[in-house]
Symmetry: D2
Subunit: 365 residues, 4 copies
């Protein structure tokens, strides 16, 4: 029931409903001495902000995140970092109708089943707005990782049938693409596809890919707390994610061992892999290669076309969901994936420090 | 670092190395009064046993699991259930060579990176034999679920390029197929494919699918401890799994909202869905439909053909792994997937009991 | 390091420094449907407020706690309840001097040892003001317990050498005593003692006692998560507590088994105890009697008289701590003890619901 | 309900009933490379063994503990260490009568209340024999601590009215005293007292004191996971403990701040305290002084004299508990206290490593 805390040593606790007073997160366990800047935090937050282009909802949300504790003289103190953003634009009247029925593809029915009633305003706790807290936490985790030479980079791999071409891959273009694709040709095609979906009052899904660089070998624990198992939970916990895969992912089911095994080699005294089908993890522990994973997002469930459902009186009805909604979740979700990865890896890194006495020293210069 | 415990209320802790004295599991938190039979436990265990047919390794392992605590007069007492199996067939000499190098696709290198050294005998803690403890725990969880009318059924969906045809799906055939496929035609094709892999000294991957029936709506928590997030971690924590998907999974990335949304309807006063693209979960909470997920397994990394790697002295070498190994992991992994699902759902069910005050009050009548 | 979260099913996470922007708490896992009133919350908070009488510091703190999430239409929704109070009266200049040295009896030195630096303003995270968040959480827990017929009542048992006389015990007088003693005669004596301490620029300690009524038998778990073990941690985690005891407590060390054992008897078909030396717990599980425990508080470490210490440059110095401070912590700590007990019992109650299969089945009717 | 796991990074899980097949513990999270010797483990275990002298029960228990996993070539591998001892002397017939009634001072009634039934043989899970698993885990924790220069030493401070005199304190005498007192004069007096109790068919309580030396400043977390709070839970979770106190403990309630505050001074560039009323902890974090705490044990509840109670049919009856029982728990509990302290401190040390980047290096030479 208490499902709003994630992580053990680097631990985040989120709270808040879409149209309540505020949303926020408490980040506990961040080591002391990490430099944190509230303005940069808000620049990072802007990546999930709505209303940035025509593929994201025009609702205005100020979303300024304020740090209320745990940072002193510009550095983390080792005590909990509380961050909050107040909801300024909530107009509950917009949402009064949805109190009476269960929207297909949403959590209205399951919340009522679980709790007996729900905060129906804008999706309440199950709104995508909940991810705001994850991203604020992800920023803090990212600051810690960056000080250790680790970077986490997510981007859109595909939207509907449009997929990036790795021959055109350019990391710098991620921020130049309105849909965060590192391939501007695919990005333009995706835009065309989304225009079509808007016209049809329909929505699209897609895939987010994430690459972690600089992760030393030895992170993640055997058995249940594997690095990839942790990532799988972290990423699957993002609303609308229906699949997670590591390295070659589902494709490994059709390949053979002789192709899939990555050979080791020694370069300048360091063990390296000649290929990276594994996506940087072996036996649940990082192997020193790039750690790579993907998440599949379903199409936005809120669509403008007519849908069939039931109301709370048990009557079958047809509904049309009013208001404008993102025709695709993926672009705004990119930074959410990045954030959940950063939090997960920060937590595992801190745990990894205790694996060997010798190993402790390895992670800190 | 302490990564051998899984679950919060229904909590399992596993231990043991492939070629150590014994392996085992402690199941803590199982409610009192559940009927447990040691013989049936061992019948369940037999599903992951090696040496059952030509696609599994002929090594003999006795694998008799003994219950050492927590069961009295045939029923669980509410205290920890300790189960153990002693290793009778370990011949460390078989494995002495692998101490000196890092097998591709295995965790040899990552264990050394993490801990400074490793128990190299038969894979030690990262051996597939570790799953024995998961299956023993899964049996206990399954007994609890069955008393509540919930069943968990896993089977092989595909091996290499061979996939079951749902038109021929027959649950009863799962146990009649040497590769646990509910489609005997596909099963025969898979056998032919595996023969070919054996001839080529290569190995195959595949996909396991799992269906949970009887799960009431309302199980799973919003945000981080979603039902699907829990399953994603549980299943990704099984060695060799590289992808997990729920319901339509990765396919949702290419579909549209109008197709993917499941309409609700009312039948005999009960809310039902007309389709089940969601795989039984909305907003991380069970929706009362069948809960369906899949896991992608990589090909067995131990193959007989020559592979390139490095030894512990940092020299590039070519190796041939001796001994016979399963040409495919999938069939023996079916019951492991089923077990991890059962444990996860048992834990979430117990947590779900505390979601409403109504449930609380009932406890005191 | 992440030590600001307490509880598993009923889980609280606190944050905030004495002189930062704000302090708060997130209560996760409270069942849905509990009536919560923000005004009553603030009445409860008033019991730990400073400046209520001459034995508490005259610093003004507004301490209005606001509920930001998790309550809808006056009832808990089952999602996290975030509560916050903004610091309005922080004057950092008051505290600039203490940045340079280590106050005896305070955590200045240990924070610097752990984190390398500290937020020195008013004690930062180690300030008694941190307990504000505990009390807000305790109010929510108390509302849950009250709906189940359980009450938690703490009071001052002694201040310095002045102890209540149980022959004069009157629960109603707790709120009539400026030091929260249920014996107004002792209360007057304690006031005289405190006047003397103020004159001497010194401070006093004392003992808080707490009684939980209405707790059914069967709460708490064997072995590590015993009811009394949980309370011991919860109460010892309150700043300035140096001892915790259950029932007859330390006195049992000198008694004999024939005296200390509580005989059982049967009254109207119910099992009862003829005495309650155990304080309501046997084998770590509640026995249906009143659950009784005590906490010993040390004298306020901030005293006005001259003290010896070292500064951050490693020089031995004499200091006089400026500002006015409570001559005794105990009266304001009473509600903190009550709150930690309420949170602990709420958590254990929710866990207790899953102890028997009978309870499980009830969930599904 | 799942209450048999303790610790987060250094985590122990115990299992087993007094008269079941076996008892054991899984120690997960111990760093790799610690030297472990099974013979020394069993020497350590011998300190809680029954039948060593006339004040402990003459029942023979072999209690040989065997290590089944996690140790390879004499060193910990970083994976779970499973230890087990088989029960060889269980004679269930000795205990058949107690199935029918509730022994005063025991957990018979509370187990039945919680679980609906219980394993009544020899106390089942609530037997003092459960501590065997704690001691085995404590040995492992102690090995880790010793490699870091930390020692944990417990001893008997008092039995009934007989207390050690610190002027005669001699640590070396602990092992020379049949009741583990570091004062042989007091030890002899305690023996006389116990003889008297045996004659009277009665039993005695007492106090165990524990001193931890070599603990660096900075261990323990602010707020809930304070060093002293962790110890309080760990020690109160030992059966028969009714009180825990740190440093001056309950005596602080009657002293004054000017006396109780420990002044800091600087010696050879190191910060030291002139006194140690705090018992080595300030604000929940170790201050570099000896960490000192005490636990009060109740008299053995099993006494030979007639007692009043009820049977399971609800009838009031008089009983006489057969068999011989320890007239005092304290001497055998000394090593249990030491073990729980070692486990707690090992866990906190590993957590403390993550508190600051700088701090990580501090704990390992």
């Amino acid at each position: 029931m208490a499902g709003s805390t994630y992580g053990e040593l680097f631990r985040i606790t989120t709270w808040g409903e879409s149209h309540g007073e505020a949303l926020g997160v408490v980040v506990d366990g961040c080591p002391a001495g990490i430099t944190i800047d509230e303005d940069r935090l808000n620049e990072y937050m802007a990546r999930r902000k709505p209303g940035q282009n025509k593929y994201s909802t025009p609702r205005k949300e100020s979303d300024r995140v304020k740090i209320l504790s745990g940072v002193f003289d510009g550095k983390t103190t080792g005590t909990p970092i509380s961050m909050v953003t107040f909801n300024e634009n909530q107009r509950s009247s917009d949402y009064s109708e949805i109190a009476s029925y269960y929207r297909p593809g949403h959590a209205d029915y399951t919340f009522d089943s679980k709790y007996g009633f729900r905060d129906y305003r804008g999706g309440g706790r199950s709104s995508g707005r909940e991810t705001l807290a994850r991203v604020a936490a992800g920023y803090i985790a990212g600051c810690l990782l960056n000080e250790l030479g680790i970077t986490v980079t997510a981007y859109t791999k595909s939207i509907g049938p449009v997929q990036i071409d790795y021959d055109r891959f350019n990391e710098a273009d991620i921020m130049n693409s309105p849909v965060y694709m590192p391939d501007l040709t695919a990005s333009a095609e995706a835009e065309t596809y989304l225009e079509d979906m808007i016209t049809k009052k329909d929505s699209a899904g897609g895939v987010v890919e994430c690459v972690v660089k600089g992760l030393p070998a030895g992170i993640g624990d055997p058995v249940f707390d594997k690095l990839d198992a942790g990532i799988a939970k972290a990423v699957m916990s993002i609303g609308a994610v229906k699949g997670v895969e590591i390295g070659d992912g589902f494709a490994v089911a059709k390949t053979s061992g002789s192709v899939n095994n990555d050979s080791f080699t020694c370069e300048d005294g360091n063990v390296r892999k000649l290929t990276n089908h594994s996506g940087g993890v072996l036996g649940g522990i990082s192997d020193g290669s790039d750690f790579i994973f993907r998440a599949a997002f379903k199409p936005t469930p809120s669509i403008a076309s007519t849908q069939h459902t039931v109301n709370k009186s048990g009557e079958d009805i047809d509904i049309e969901i009013k208001g404008r909604h993102d025709p695709v979740i993926v672009p705004r979700a990119v930074v959410v994936v990045e954030s959940m990865a950063a939090v997960t890896i920060a937590d595992m890194l801190l745990k990894g420090m205790t694996a060997t006495i010798d190993g402790v020293k390895r992670f800190y210069r």
